[in-house]
């Protein structure tokens, strides 16, 4: 097991290096001038600025300085907001995105398992049709539309009740988080429901379920101990990529609901061409996602011994 974890960690490190390299060269290719200012800059000031940010050195030197800094966990200083470290920005805004993302993943996973099992239990009956229709709808409607519509819904509810039942936007309390997290998790929930349904239906016809049935095990026990436990495995497999989809998909929800998360900050940084923030956020997000996927793999290795054997 230790060997398995170690191997995955080394792979993860190489992946992070790849992400950092791709980010560096993509950013170097961006047209435009990072030091371009509203005011005219004299040659001397410009030279000083270039020296400050290390832009006067050749690209390969810059690349190695950049790698060295990342290895020490230093993403540099923001171009747009002077005197603000990228690390500070991440430290301040990432927890917001993370809380939102975790909540969304939990909602998506619990909802997906629940609805998926329900549809499998009521196969080809009304609940199945209704839920599967909603699933197709959830997959087909873009998240920004769902976000906008749910905001409209909150406004209507609030005006009907005559008081603020749920805040329309912003961040702070648990009531701020509920609707954005639900919207964020909805698409993933739809996918997980589909997956859970098909894996449940496969399990229903398997030998061990038939054996349990013939032994006279009560249906509720068969469902809980035999079907659910086995059917949940594929859902756990896709949970890693789902976390990736949810955390980066958070941009839209963060923008629509005015949540001060890292995703919104990233979009703003791109609009301002804030080089260090863009690079820092991308590498940080990339490393985070790689770590999450490894974590899910390791958990999966504990649950299913076949994985770590391969």
């Amino acid at each position: 097991m230790m060997w398995f974890i170690g191997k995955r960690l080394v792979q993860g490190l190489i992946t992070v290096w790849f992400i950092a390299t791709a980010t560096f060269f993509a950013m170097h290719n961006v047209p435009g001038d990072p030091l371009l200012n509203d005011r005219a800059t004299t040659a001397i000031i410009r030279a000083n600025l270039e020296a400050k940010y290390g832009l006067d050195k050749p690209v390969t030197t810059q690349y190695f300085i950049y790698l060295n800094n990342i290895a020490h966990g230093d993403f540099g200083i923001s171009f747009a907001q002077e005197n603000r470290e990228v690390n500070d920005i991440i430290r301040e805004h990432f927890p917001v995105s993370a809380i939102l993302g975790i909540l969304a993943v939990v909602i998506a996973a619990v909802g997906g398992i629940l609805w998926g099992s329900l549809t499998a239990l009521y196969r080809n009956r009304l609940p199945d049709y209704i839920i599967m229709f909603l699933v197709i709808l959830g997959i087909s409607v873009p998240s920004f539309v769902v976000a906008a519509l749910s905001q409209l819904g909150i406004v209507t509810i609030n005006s009907l009740l005559g008081r603020t039942f749920l805040p329309v936007a912003g961040w702070g309390t648990i009531s701020h988080m509920l609707v954005p997290a639900l919207v964020l998790g909805l698409t993933t929930m739809a996918y997980l429901t589909r997956l859970m349904r098909s894996s449940m239906l496969e399990i229903v016809n398997s030998d061990f379920v038939r054996t349990a049935k013939s032994k006279g095990v009560p249906p509720a026990r068969i469902f809980a101990r035999h079907q659910l436990r086995n059917a949940v495995l594929p859902v756990i497999t896709v949970l890693g990529p789902s976390i990736a989809a949810i955390t980066t998909g958070g941009f839209v929800v963060e923008i629509v609901f005015a949540i001060p998360g890292l995703g919104r900050f990233f979009v703003e940084a791109v609009q301002q061409l804030d080089y260090t923030v863009i690079m820092g956020t991308t590498v940080f997000y990339g490393a985070f996602l790689v770590f999450m996927v490894i974590l899910v793999d390791v958990i999966y290795g504990f649950i299913d011994p076949r994985v770590r054997m391969n």
């Binding site: 290719n29 961006v30 197709i136 873009p142 906008a148 406004v155």
Partner: protein, 453 residues
């Protein structure tokens, strides 16, 4: 032994021993087509997609309105609004009331050209302030936006020409007491503003047919916008059609390109096997690990948009660079399986070249899987485009796309929902149609599903 007759030596016909084919033989694709035809949902989705393509390609021929032309008389107009406009004389400045005034009242008719108010001095007033509101004033004394102030008691008229649109307005005049502060004395009038235009304007906008005479007092119909206009007065239908072209172009061509790239990459890796395969797949793993949307944005700005460009090409490139590995993995797995099949071995024994093996035996057998992948990648690409345009990283304005139209529409969602609803609906329907078609295709082409019913 019995006697043999000549009939016994007649050649035996082999017809009787031949296995009769009870049903016509079906190729893989014929069988798949029959399965697809019996799937009502997939078929309906296919028709819907064809309809969308017609809407995009032929629509602009029938509805040839310039999608970037602004109709400033009809900003944010929902579909089905009244279009009639009164012809009025050219504007002339107003010098004040000519008749005796008893209370707050209108002078002349209220039109989008101007609203003229006149009133008598309110009790204990040293001056007056005029407000305009879209809603009744009510008990909260919500007068609206202040329009003008007069600090003398002689100016008892006001002309409003600011940004008037047809509809109901509530004008209030509030008396200003000492220190020029408003007192509780106020009068409110409800004004129904009519759409109006002058003869010259009507002709300039092409609202009048040639040879037709119009005079003051006539009514003309303003330009028709079947689906209304957006916040800049641009025709929604024309923009939706042009936006469809952008969205569907990216939605279809980007997957075509990266699926093709994945097929080439995957088939080479799968066919070569061994070290080369290991190396190629490890590289694909790295590309998969890149956080997709972040890199999508990064590559898009990296490829850059020049002035006057729409930004479609950088988006296409970014998608191709990032999204090929999924198909590559799939095709590689398929090729690895097929490589072990008997007919490939046989072909190899007969001296077939590698290129022949790949093109003749392997690729045609992966075509079904690739086709299914392609149909599922199309909605994904449409989503990605919409998402990027929504956060302002997609196509550059004024080029419309469904995503950027949704982005513009969401800002005015509460007052004019049609600006969001139409593009959002089109995205949803398109994605739904491709998803259902993909489901149908998968059921039809999946060999495991064959002859199980």
């Amino acid at each position: 032994m019995s006697k043999l007759t000549a009939a016994d030596f007649a050649p035996h016909s082999n017809e009787h021993h031949c296995h009769a084919l009870s049903r016509p033989s079906l190729s893989y694709w014929q069988d798949a087509w029959i399965r697809l035809k019996s799937n009502k949902r997939a078929l309906a989705s296919g028709c819907l997609i064809i309809g969308l393509l017609i809407f995009t390609l032929l629509g602009p021929l029938l509805w040839s309105v310039n999608s970037s032309e602004q109709d400033l008389d009809q900003l944010s107009t929902p579909p089905g609004s009244a279009r009639s406009a009164l012809i009025i004389p050219d504007y002339e400045p107003w010098a004040g009331p000519t008749t005796t005034v008893t209370e707050l009242e209108l002078a002349g008719s209220a039109t989008t050209q101007s609203v003229r108010l006149q009133w008598t001095s309110l009790p204990e007033a040293n001056g007056h302030r005029i407000y305009r509101n879209l809603y009744p004033v009510g008990e909260e004394k919500a007068y609206g936006i202040p329009m003008a102030e007069f600090f003398d008691n002689n100016t008892l008229y006001f002309e409003d020409r600011l940004n008037l649109s047809p509809g109901i307005y509530y004008y209030s005049v509030v008396a200003l007491g000492n220190n020029r502060r408003p007192t509780t004395e106020a009068a409110t009038i409800r004004v129904d503003v009519l759409r109006a235009t002058t003869v010259d304007e009507a002709i300039a906008q092409g609202l009048v047919e040639e040879g037709e005479e119009i005079a003051v007092g006539d009514t003309v119909n303003t330009a028709l916008h079947p689906l209304g206009t957006d916040y800049l007065g641009r025709d929604m239908l024309a923009r939706l059609m042009e936006g469809a072209r952008v969205s569907l172009f990216i939605g279809i061509f980007a997957p075509l390109l990266y699926v093709l790239m994945g097929v080439v990459y995957g088939s080479i890796a799968g066919f070569m096997g061994g070290k080369v395969d290991q190396l190629m797949m490890r590289f694909a793993d790295f590309v998969v690990a890149l956080p997709f949307l972040l890199f999508m944005i990064l590559f898009k700005i990296s490829f850059g948009i020049g002035p006057g460009e729409s930004g479609i090409f950088p988006m296409l490139m970014a998608m191709v660079v990032l999204l090929w590995p999924a198909t590559a993995r799939l095709v590689r797995g398929q090729i690895m399986q097929i490589r072990e099949q008997g007919y490939v071995e046989a072909s190899k024994l007969l001296g077939a070249k590698s290129s022949y093996l790949i093109l003749r035996h392997m690729l045609p057998n992966t075509l079904g899987v690739v086709l299914v992948t392609l149909t599922f990648e199309i909605p994904r690409a449409i989503f990605t485009e919409a998402f990027l345009s929504f956060i302002g990283m997609g196509v550059a304005p004024p080029t419309p796309s469904w995503g950027s139209m949704s982005n513009e529409g969401i800002k005015t969602m509460l007052n004019t929902p049609h600006e969001l609803i139409f593009p959002a609906l089109l995205i949803s329907i398109t994605v739904l149609a491709f998803n259902l078609l993909g489901d149908g295709l998968r059921d039809a082409l999946d060999a495991r599903m064959r002859n199980t019913e």
